[in-house]
Amino acid sequence: MFESLSNRLGEVFERLRKRGALNESDVDEALREVRIALLEADVSLPVVKKFIKGVREKAVGQEVLRSVTPGQMVIKIVHDHLVETLGAESVALNLSAVPPVAVMMVGLQGSGKTTSTAKIAKWLQTKERKKVLMASLDVQRPAAQEQLKVLGEQAGVATLPIVPGQMPVEIAKRAMQAARLQGMDVVLLDTAGRLHVDEALMAEIAAVKKVAEPQEILLVADALTGQDAVNVASRFHERVTLTGIMLTRIDGDGRGGAALSMRAVTGCPIKMLGTGEGLDDIEPFHPDRIASRILGMGDVVSLVEKAAETMEKEEADRLAAKVAKGRFDLEDLRDQLRQMQKMGGLEGMMGLLPGAQKVKKQMAAANIDPKLLSRQEAIINSMTPRERRNPKLINASRKRRIASGSGTSIPEVNRVLKQWKQMSVMMKKVKKLGKKGMMRAGLEGILPRM
């Protein structure tokens, strides 16, 4: 149906065979195609414009790595920026408050609120062992309350008994009261679908918000939404201050550009994905998955992977050369740090390299600062060329000078030196492993233990 971005870019990059840094006109030409791809993926126009601007700033002047085509390079930059904009990590529901904690679901008609309510309830009850009560505040759609009741029976989750004729604010009060009496942890409030321009109904959810004081207000939105996504998301956000987005019908073949639009205009994290009609069809949000979809399905991912592979191979080749040279000094370490920064910093690189998941988890566990690379580079920059070539020279007083020169601390300088030492040791390991072995060991084999 849609031309994928890599197809589109193919032609443009036929003409861009030259090496070196990406120049302005290369980038602009490529970004024209990226823009169309995003629009075809239903990313809203104002969001597309802002996004393209952001990518352009990153891409112009970017060094094209050897053995990576400019096309791959641009796609990788676009992909990374997309992941960054979508929110690099998935954010869990925040239920830390005095129970019963209310979670309110809002959105347009038919977006999947009732189904998603039941999915989240089941998830919380089975995976997080919470006591959950669901209540339907939908007095608009015929049989809507009945629908939630049936879903509650299917999921084994309690629902608030239906009182015909009761209005939403009253139902919300009754739900909170019942939850308090029954010692519930979480109350999920399903609401009627409403248009963001329907003043009376928007006032109604504001009133419900007042009585239930929900900890989470989730906008439930269809992944197939078009350009209107920005209007919907921003109006709901203005009115009730959303805390997150649940994107439904991710199992469709839509490109899902609405995810980017809504995330960009509200700044709210996408917290959950609906992946089917069944009550277990719910997943935490993965920015990678959505990013590659928006750009044109799987082939972009494989392109990015290929780019990453070649980059890894280049690194490996460079290291191998060092090994052959038999020396590895702080200037080499600095080159590496720079290389890594270009590749999207520690986080970006970890996300890309095969076999890096474990290292990434270790990094997260060790609370490693993503700015680490640039600080380390600053430390090395504050050394004299002699110190860099012969790190053994660096004594306590030199360390003090380097720390103050780079605006860091002595322990940090020590850490860089330690890293260099580990790298030197690793060089020997690499020599033993040989080039092939190192490729297999991947990044884990190369990076020092954290």
Binding site: F2, I36, Q109, G110, A144, L195, G226, Q227, D251, E277
Partner: protein, 313 residues
């Protein structure tokens, strides 16, 4: 639901939806040269109304053909846009007219989840019972929780009989039984509801094929109409929806719902351009009366902000 005449209801909805578009046109064209830059901006405005990249480019190219590098005013540009859009939409604006030769005329209503199939059936029942037809509905969504009850409430609202089975029952079997009963009771129109399904799920799409197949055992020409219900908030995926549903169950016409929001429904222009399927009606609210015939000129004018000007007079 308020009882305004349908046009003002539509324009009220579309007005909200187009104010951004038309506002932008105003700022664009207070007499200005229609150069490449202006055309690009115009194209973007159409894209922002969900017309899609290809259709937007085509419309702009047509406008540029006679006006390129000429000074143009805002009103002129709106008129030109409306003319272009109307020309694309006019051939597809055809109401749904049940054939009295069929007893009953069988309408199968299909579409992805939550687009408004059940509600549209309720609205159609209201419309055709008001015209004096005997209408029966069949609760073919046996999957979604309380979908049967939902249609039964629509049956009460429109005083039409509803044939329903048990949750989880075979939809094709239910449709078959409903057609038998509709024949026995000499109904004019049978509206068959179906469960929502995404077009990329082939096993669910196969179910629709089966429904058509079993209906033909009773009436070889049934279903006489297959309505695909599209949600106006849907973006370019609507193209894929039409393509696949048409392949699987020979869609004969479209209904677009939820045009009372800010979604502009511009994808309908792209659809008309590509598939030329009739657009029978549009949904402009949740009530039984909120169904409107699809009128190409009015839709085009509302989309381009012309009717808004008239409404403001």
């Amino acid at each position: 639901m308020s009882e305004k005449n349908w046009f003002s209801r539509l324009t009220r909805g579309l007005k909200k939806s187009t104010s951004a578009l038309t506002g932008n046109i105003s700022s664009l064209f207070t007499k200005r040269k229609l150069d490449d830059e202006a055309l690009e901006e115009l194209e973007e405005l159409l894209i922002a109304a969900d017309l899609g990249v290809t259709t937007s480019a085509r419309i702009c190219a047509n406008i540029a053909r006679t006006r390129f590098n000429k000074d143009v005013g805002e009103r002129e540009i709106r008129e030109a846009l409306a003319d272009e859009i109307e020309a694309i939409l006019t051939p597809v604006a055809k109401p749904l007219i049940p054939d009295p030769a069929h007893k009953p005329h069988v309408v199968l209503v299909v579409g992805v989840n939550g687009t408004g199939k059940t509600t549209t059936i309720g609205k159609l029942a209201r419309h055709f019972t008001a015209e004096g037809l005997k209408v029966m509905m069949a609760a073919g969504d046996t999957f979604r929780a309380a979908a049967i009850e939902q249609l039964q409430i629509w049956g009460k609202r429109t005083a039409s009989p509803v044939i329903a089975g048990k949750p989880g029952a075979d939809a094709a079997g239910l449709a078959y039984g409903a057609l038998q009963q509709a024949k026995e009771q000499n109904m004019d129109l049978l509206l068959i509801d179906t469960a929502g399904r995404l077009q990329n799920k082939s096993h669910l799409m196969a179910e629709l094929e089966k429904i058509s197949r079993v209906l033909k055992k009773i009436d070889p020409e049934a279903p006489h109409s297959v309505l695909l219900v599209l949600d106006a908030t849907t973006g370019q995926n609507a193209l894929s929806q039409v393509e696949v549903f048409q392949q699987v169950c020979q869609v004969t016409g479209l209904v677009m719902t939820k045009l009372d929001g800010t979604a502009r429904g511009g994808v309908l222009v792209a659809l008309a351009d590509k598939f030329a399927l009739p657009v029978h009606a549009i949904g402009v609210g949740e009530g039984a009366e909120d169904l409107r015939p699809f009128d190409a000129r009015q839709f085009a004018e509302a989309l381009c902000g012309l009717s808004e000007e008239d409404a403001n007079k």
